[in-house]
């Protein structure tokens, strides 16, 4: 900003410079002092006022800043004599933006534009204001005005981009795109085009209208020279030709691309697609795809070819001989495309039912012989492996095995090939069919190989990946599978040890970190998971894509402070980005990168509709409420900040839910938990295997589940609010809320929301009511409903509150007292059921701690709020303690059910507390010994023991071949320390929860003192 000096509003630069210097160095007090001095000399200068407002805003005085800004604005509007320039306006704009009043900034610019109709600088400022407001029509209008004044290409493109954005946001491309095309055509006729990006936009507009031939003419004509890189031009031409169904010409272009860039896989797919005349999926090619200069033609992969068999075979032979020619050119081993291409050709042949089956296996084996040692081999050939029959898979694995055995002793290549075979076994889910002993042998073999190959990495810098690093991740996968199958704890413990062992040698392996994070989380050692998550250094955009590794578990844990930090950091990142997104878009306009303009706007929308962002905002408020349930006033304050819960109902309306974007990157999740809502380890092996086969389906289903979860969560704050409101009037004859709003309004809304809540559970209101009554009376059980218990109990809590305001009884509910009784009974039953099956957390991975946490911190807490609200209404405000005179007053018959409820909650929480105490008070050493015994005792021939032995032997033997660094790391290895940390983390989780229960009990005790 300091660089923007000059005569601003007629003030000499020397007077202004010290103020900017003070602002830049954050000496706001000094800046303000100087500015006051400036204002004394120039009391009517809008610029001086804008500066003062800016300083006040930075000092954290938004109200004063706003008032000064408005003064400046009034001056701008009132006096014709006042000088207005962009510096004044842009300074005001900064303050208005920070005060969240973009509209005021815009009106200042609009006024200035009217005053100085041809001032380009101010017009650009106004355009920027419209960009910030996402007002595409107004953007277009002002851009056209600027274009008319100076005739510059860039302003025309600003207008064209604004038209494109309108077309995208309104689906009104039919009329708008021809308008953009017309404008460009006219300009080209008189001025031609000078920017490559302008040409890209022109082509994209033609393409979106299906005018491929015209686009081809443009790019093949004079304007084509704007594209400086030949292959880029060829790719665009190929794409346009393919879309115009001129496949022969398209194939020729892509062939040319491959001759220039022989490793371009996309170009090969497009080449093959053109040769085989694959159908092109026009409709799905989004506007952004075209604008992003994507070269992909979106061939509908693998559809049956419409060509005759003869033509089909001929075309494939053409492709084959072309790629064989590329192979002959003798590229080094880093060029894989011409080799993978032969696999793709055979794959296509097979998909069309014209296969020489042996051929596909042969090319796969050839590819393995050449590239089998590479870490990416499996993902390269994955799509081809999927189409093999079960017999072929076995045959192929055998062939790979034989081929790699023939390659002598341990070398980096041999390890690479061995890892590839293990990974393919994993891909084929061989573990499900192998006997336990075989799997143990495989795991042992891999650990042994890892340890024996350590010396290969002795010369490597610690920053570099070690050879054979992937072995340990694969071992972990096998061991977790064994745990799943046998439920034998030692497998899980050894999986942890193996990864910790690897991390001890090289601590930068993120794959280990993620696996450990999930293993510890499953083992109830969430503090340790959180610690490992911390080592991943997740920040900025990664918060959007990888928080799912930890956030869902944290939200169901007693680690509230860490959870609040996670949510806060994530929400802040998103909000900061939304605040600056429009300015970054304007930057793209200014630098004439028009394709980025469209991309930026669409990306911002994608993040704005992020599922996780919406959930996090709700979770943050709900978490705050949970933390404050001890004090009703605090909860009310939190609710007030979210419009008494209405804000979330608005955010989760149907239109918003349709636009939801799922941006999480699940590719790094472990196999046993492909999404945050799935954990196969919580299911039995057989069930899980079936699910695993439908993994993709599960991921798709997740979006459906996520929408339901959002709706459910969005209802909670409002239902809590309504419950508190109606409970506060519990004992009054004529209910008047806040002195003005009648309960009638609440009743209908309350009923409506309860119906939605029930619907969200998959039940009608009547059925849900019947369910809670049935369970409370012992006629039904929780198990009959495929629902989370906490959801049903929450419903009972809210129905009870609803009954308080309606004063009439819902059919089937019984009488008023019974709704209290229903809640009591459900809480009692649920907790006793959970405790009956509860195992000590230390030795039972996947235990029910999260369910108990949910019950205590949600259902019970919401009910406590209802009770608090009832009690508050009976005690004169400000009265903290029971006074003798109040005793009679409070000893009302209506209080009996409240009293009973308090007692019931107390009993239930005490039961949980007792269960927890057994674990909290257990010495950590005792738990440690228990866990260690799983590793030390038993059959010494068994896998877990053997693997531990290999690790210990490697750690203790001093092998000079390993080099100083690796040997040093091995000397520090201590498996007992790993288990000790695990126990400590589990202990902390339990202790935190124990404290929460204690706090709830104290609160309930204080209620008892009142009545």
């Amino acid at each position: 900003m300091a660089s923007k000096y000059g005569l601003a509003g007629g003030i000499p630069e020397r007077r202004v410079r010290p103020i900017w210097d003070a602002i830049d160095s954050r000496q706001y007090k000094n800046a303000l002092k100087l500015c006051v001095g400036l204002l004394a000399k120039h009391p009517n200068s809008p610029y001086a006022l804008a500066l003062k407002a800016l300083i006040l805003e930075r000092m954290g005085k938004p109200d004063e800043a706003m008032s000064v800004c408005l003064n400046a604005k009034d001056l701008l509007y009132s006096s014709t004599a006042v000088h207005v320039d962009d510096l004044t306006l842009s300074t005001l704009q900064i303050v208005f933006q920070r005060l969240d009043r973009l509209d005021l900034a815009t009106s200042c610019y609009e006024h200035a534009c009217a005053k100085y109709p041809n001032n380009l600088e101010i017009m650009m400022g106004l355009f920027n204001c419209y960009v910030r407001e996402y007002s595409y029509v107004k953007q277009q209008q002002i851009a056209i005005k600027m274009y008319k004044i100076v005739g510059e290409e860039r302003f025309l493109l600003w207008a064209v981009c604004s038209i494109q954005l309108q077309a995208i946001s309104s689906n009104g491309g039919d009329k708008l795109l021809p308008l953009a095309e017309g404008l460009l055509k006219k300009h080209i006729a008189s001025h031609s085009l000078h920017e490559p990006e302008a040409l890209h936009i022109y082509i994209s507009i033609l393409e979106q209208q299906g005018k491929y031939e015209t686009a081809l003419e443009v790019i093949s004509g004079n304007l084509g020279s704007l594209i400086g890189i030949e292959v880029d031009k060829l790719r665009i031409q190929g794409r346009l030709l393919a879309r115009a169904r001129d496949f022969a010409a398209g194939a020729e272009k892509f062939q040319r691309v491959l001759e220039l860039c022989s490793d371009d896989w996309d170009a090969f797919l497009n080449y093959l697609g053109c040769l085989l005349e694959d159908d092109i999926n026009w409709s799905k090619a989004s506007v952004t795809d075209q604008i992003k200069l994507s070269n992909s033609v979106d061939f509908q992969n693998c559809k049956l070819s419409t060509l005759t068999e003869e033509v089909f075979n001929f075309r494939l032979s053409t492709a084959l001989s072309f790629v064989q020619n590329l192979q002959m050119k003798g590229y080094n081993d880093c060029v894989r495309c011409p080799y993978l291409a032969t696999i793709e050709i055979e794959r296509r042949r097979r998909l069309n039912g014209k296969a020489d089956d042996f051929k596909l296996m042969e090319v796969l084996l050839n590819y393995f012989n050449r590239f089998g040692h590479l870490s990416c081999f499996t993902s390269d050939v994955e799509s081809s492996l999927h189409i093999l029959t079960s017999d072929e898979r076995n045959e192929l694995l055998e062939a790979f095995g034989k081929s790699s055995e023939s390659s002598s002793t341990i070398s980096t290549k041999a390890i690479g090939s061995a890892i590839t075979i293990f990974k393919i076994q994993e891909l084929f889910d061989c573990a499900s069919c192998f006997p336990v002993t075989d799997l143990e042998t495989i795991a042992m073999k891999m650990v042994d190989m890892y340890c024996k190959s350590l010396y290969l990495s002795r010369e490597l810098d610690p920053q570099e990946n070690m050879h054979g690093e992937e072995l340990l991740s694969t071992v972990c996968n096998v061991l977790v599978h064994l745990f799943w199958r046998t439920r034998c704890l030692s497998y899980l413990l050894v999986a942890i040890l193996v990864l910790e062992f690897g991390s001890n040698i090289r601590r930068y392996v993120w794959q280990y970190k993620i696996l450990l994070l999930h293993l510890y989380s499953h083992f109830g050692a969430l503090p340790l998971s959180y610690e490992w998550y911390g080592t991943l250094d997740v920040k900025n955009i990664l918060l959007e894509t990888v928080s799912h590794h930890i956030l869902p578990q944290m939200l169901r844990s007693p680690l509230w402070s860490e959870t609040a930090d996670l949510l806060k950091e994530y929400i802040k990142f998103m909000d900061d980005y939304f605040n600056e997104a429009a300015d970054l878009t304007f930057l793209a306009y200014r630098h004439r990168n028009y394709s980025k303009v469209i991309e930026f706007v669409q990306f911002k929308e994608r993040l704005q509709h992020s599922y996780q962002y919406l959930m996090a905002r709700m979770d943050a408020s709900i978490l705050q409420m949970k933390q404050k349930t001890d004090k009703l006033e605090d909860v009310e304050f939190i609710l007030e900040n979210v419009k008494h819960g209405l804000q979330f109902l608005e955010l989760s309306n149907e239109a918003e839910l349709k636009l939801l974007a799922f941006n999480e990157d699940f590719q790094t999740r472990p196999w046993w938990s492909p999404t945050s809502s799935i954990n196969y380890l919580l299911e039995t092996f057989e069930e899980g295997t079936a699910h695993r086969r439908e993994q993709k389906h599960q991921v798709d289903m997740r979006e459906c589940v996520a929408r339901k979860a959002i709706e459910w969560k969005s209802l909670l704050p409002r239902l809590v609010y309504l419950s508190i409101q109606v409970a506060s009037s519990f004992l009054k004859e004529n209910i008047e809320l806040n002195g003005s709003v009648s309960d009638i309004d609440y009743t209908s809304e309350f009923k409506c929301l309860l119906e939605r809540y029930a619907r969200n559970l998959g039940l009608s209101f009547e059925d849900a009511t019947e369910a809670i009554v049935g369970i409370s009376e012992g006629k039904k059980s929780f198990k009959e409903y495929d629902l989370e218990m906490v959801h049903l109990i929450n419903f009972a809590v809210f129905v009870n509150a609803f009954n308080l305001c309606t004063h009439h009884l819902e059919p089937g509910v019984g009488h008023q007292q019974s709704s209290w009784h229903i809640v009591n009974s459900l809480v009692e039953k649920c907790i006793s059921e959970e405790l009956m099956h509860a195992q000590p957390i230390f030795t039972s991975p996947g235990n029910n701690l999260p369910i108990l946490v949910d019950l205590v911190t949600e259902s019970i807490s919401w009910h406590i709020l209802v009770i608090q609200s009832c009690l508050r209404s009976m005690i004169p405000s400000g009265k903290k303690k029971k006074k003798p005179s109040a005793t009679d007053q409070l000893n009302l018959p209506q209080l009996q059910p409240v009293h009973a409820s308090i007692q019931c909650l107390t009993n239930s929480i005490q039961d949980v507390q007792t269960w927890l105490e057994g674990q909290v008070n257990k010495p950590e050493d005792e738990s440690l010994d228990t866990l260690l015994s799983h590793l030390q005792s038993g059959d010494t021939e068994q896998g877990p023991y053997q693997i531990c032995r290999i690790l210990e032997e490697t750690a203790t033997e001093s092998n000079p071949e390993l080099g100083e660094r690796i040997s040093g790391a091995l000397q520090c290895w201590n498996s007992a320390n790993v288990i000790r940390k695990l126990v400590a983390a589990q202990h902390r989780s339990v202790t935190e929860f124990h404290c929460m229960c204690a706090s709830k009990l104290r609160l309930l005790e204080s209620f008892k003192q009142l009545i």
Partner: protein, 174 residues
Amino acid sequence: MTTIRRFCCDDLLRFAPVNFDHLTETFNMSFYMTYLARWPDYFHVAEAPGGRIMGYIMGKVEGQGESWHGHVTAVTVASEYRRQQLAKKLMNMLEDISDKMDKAYFVDLFVRASNMPAIKMYEKLGYVIYRRVLRYYSGEEDGLDMRKALSRDVKKKSIIPLKRPVTPDELEYD
């Protein structure tokens, strides 16, 4: 096997496995988007079959007169795709654009003085250590400014090493 194309915003949502690498910084949004908005030709991503991100390079072109140069801000490759000369391909691409499209004199980059594997790799690609920048990284570790001359710098003047180290304040560009 590489499809190298311009980096786009959506790639930010898919590059986690690359950025989990401990030496790869995940910058704030305005950093990435400023590069995309200003120098989209210097920000490329390599994609594997199936669409996984193999690695990416981000850079810019800046300077005046004979200091007009391409700059590599970050180049990184996912662990799964290392030891395949992908970084070389990405670097060559950026050098090509600096050389042919922007007619720059040289390409430069900064690297941690302790990051020997990277320094060796850049040396193999023809970069030389032009100067040492004292406490360049968070005021702690020294950085090395490495340069490679392009065809416009016929006499290779831009890469004659400086005799003394410089401080970050003395750097011409951020």
